[in-house]
Symmetry: C2
Subunit: 238 residues, 2 copies
Amino acid sequence: MRYELYYWPTIQGRGEFVRLALEEAGADYVDVARRRGKRGVPAMMKVLEDKRAARPPYAPPFLKAGKSIIAQTALILFYLGPRLNLAPRDEAGRLWVHQLQLTITDLVVHIHDTHHPVSGWLYYEEQRPAARRRTQDFWRYRVPKFLGYFERVLQHNGGTYMVGRRISYVDLSLFEIVEGLRYAFPKRMKRFERKVPGLIALRDRVAKRPRIKAYLASKRRIRFSQWGIYRYFKELDA
Amino acid sequence: MRYELYYWPTIQGRGEFVRLALEEAGADYVDVARRRGKRGVPAMMKVLEDKRAARPPYAPPFLKAGKSIIAQTALILFYLGPRLNLAPRDEAGRLWVHQLQLTITDLVVHIHDTHHPVSGWLYYEEQRPAARRRTQDFWRYRVPKFLGYFERVLQHNGGTYMVGRRISYVDLSLFEIVEGLRYAFPKRMKRFERKVPGLIALRDRVAKRPRIKAYLASKRRIRFSQWGIYRYFKELDA
């Protein structure tokens, strides 16, 4: 099965959680919108704007698997999990990794909104005081609660993987969260990391996996930038 | 099976999407945190603060079904859907209603953040200018896109239900969204409703269902208030 991933071609964004799973599994996939010319972004827009579709995606990322189109990052991973051998086989285990992924989804909104709390249609510079305040509470309350929760789940499961005895897509997603927070908040994250040693070790473990390592060194891995979920502003990292 | 729902006892909030499904199905359930004394909120906090739990919920709402504890609103509904006969039976259909519910989940964050864009740890009065701007873009961009999307899906499916030929939990959730927007933004919503006639007719259809009608008239239905997702501020409804 050749999967088609549809996502914005210049950012890691939400699509990256799916890319990491496809890469770790060595899956056959096309990152559609990164193709040149009409077969790239216009092909993605065509699917998004198809008014006759019975089950249209609301927004990227979405995945085409045969005739199915599946949207919503966490749902794409729920779908791919067993197919890529990146989720437990039993029903309860599958629901549990999905639940964790949905909690990561919530965290991602909070990360994004640190720099754009007021509106995505304003520049950062137009919402700076609000961003500063949002960031302050993000690091005071949200980060300790979210990452503390994931750390606890990880330690309870033995410290190697989040769920069961094998790697799952949620481990890969937490790698991405750590990387993103390091990019956007290098100083704050450096101070915080000692509180979640398990997650940091998990991040290192994921980074060393042969396929992930090759992927991170390749051009397929888009660099962090000022246009994604994670953005660096010196004043927010105080 | 007697289900136990755990959610904050004084607001509709995210728990209401689950309550509506349980009520429509005539399910046997306990709204745990609404019980008096120690068996109420303290019983919920005990589950939340149990450091030894292998699969702890991150936050309410969560559902206890036998020995399983399931958190995340959309996942609770995904789990309950087939059990309450409120989801299609086929796998693709089940994933599709879940996808729609996840998009409702995204919308709920945007609704909440109209009045609290900067921080949940500040009063509304402390973030009024940001709330005004966030609300402006919410009604200019988000509402037309989200509700327009749901309207299109509904019409494409024949106009009666969102998915298939029977009611599903996503129909109930969209009822709640319309009710919530009417409470928080009576003037704006009144003007907007003509653009989504299908959703308004769906709202009416849901409101007339015997069990929902009885539920809405009962004390089990918590009133909208200034403490939930949907809050009324005259200046935001300009």
